[in-house]
């Protein structure tokens, strides 16, 4: 169960592979991996976005994420998890968040990874400020519920 806050750009696919390789004892034990990667888009609410600044609350962030992962592990039979979240200045196309869950069976992997993402979105103390192209900056007001279907 690893939680990383990264001030540098990260490659989600290397992160997952490295973590899985290091946890060598996992090989052959898990049957399912569910992964979610959230990436910065270059537009939002009709505006072109040039970049993003991700602020967080050091100390509370880690504590909140640990609690969320613990809840997922209590609820589903999870073998391991990896959570990486970016902070600082982020450019379009760069990954913001990675959640990976390893389980024996696929239903648990899907359920647990989605639970962690939704809880992270609603509880972990991160704040996004968008840098608009030629139109200053604005704070993102709130996150939407990812369990609801988009229109």
């Amino acid at each position: 169960m690893l939680i990383k806050i990264s001030a540098e750009s990260f490659d989600p696919w290397s992160e997952v592979r490295d973590y899985q390789d290091e946890s060598g004892q996992m090989a052959g034990k898990f049957g399912a991996t569910s992964l979610f990667v959230g990436t910065m888009r270059d537009f939002n609410e009709g505006d072109d976005v040039a970049g993003m600044i991700l602020e967080h609350y050091p100390g509370m962030t880690e504590r909140a994420l640990e609690k969320i992962v613990r809840e997922a592990v209590e609820r589903w039979p999870v073998i391991d998890t990896l959570v990486v979240h970016r902070v600082g200045e982020i450019g379009p196309g760069e990954p913001i968040v990675l959640v990976a869950v390893w389980t024996s069976h696929r239903g648990d992997a899907f359920d647990a990874s989605r639970y962690i993402m939704e809880a992270l979105k609603s509880k972990a103390p991160f704040w996004k400020k968008e840098v608009l192209k030629g139109r200053g900056e604005r704070w993102v007001a709130h996150n939407t519920d990812g369990y609801l279907k988009t229109e």
């Binding site: 959230g38 602020e55 103390p125 704070w139 007001a141 996150n143």
Partner: protein, 77 residues
């Protein structure tokens, strides 16, 4: 009693500071602490409170040595 108070994101910009140290005579609620620190604003309904890195209520008591944080809805992920 000495309390550390922190502000984040848009709230930090609105109150014009990221943290401060305040002195209180006895334990008070987070709401009373807000009124002491940010008298110009009534506690905005959507503002969240954390005491010692855990979410708390506006009615939670703040005491000596606590770190209290006020911040807007989170938007990570």
């Amino acid at each position: 009693m000495s309390i550390k108070v922190r502000y984040f994101a848009s709230l930090k910009e609105r109150v014009g500071r990221s943290e401060e140290r305040v002195t209180i005579a006895e334990p008070i609620t987070a709401k009373a602490l807000w009124r002491q620190c940010v008298p110009e604003l009534s506690p905005p309904e959507q503002i969240l409170v954390a005491i010692n890195l855990d979410y708390a209520d506006w009615d939670s008591l703040v005491k000596e040595g606590d770190e209290v944080a006020f911040f807007p809805p989170v938007t990570g992920g």
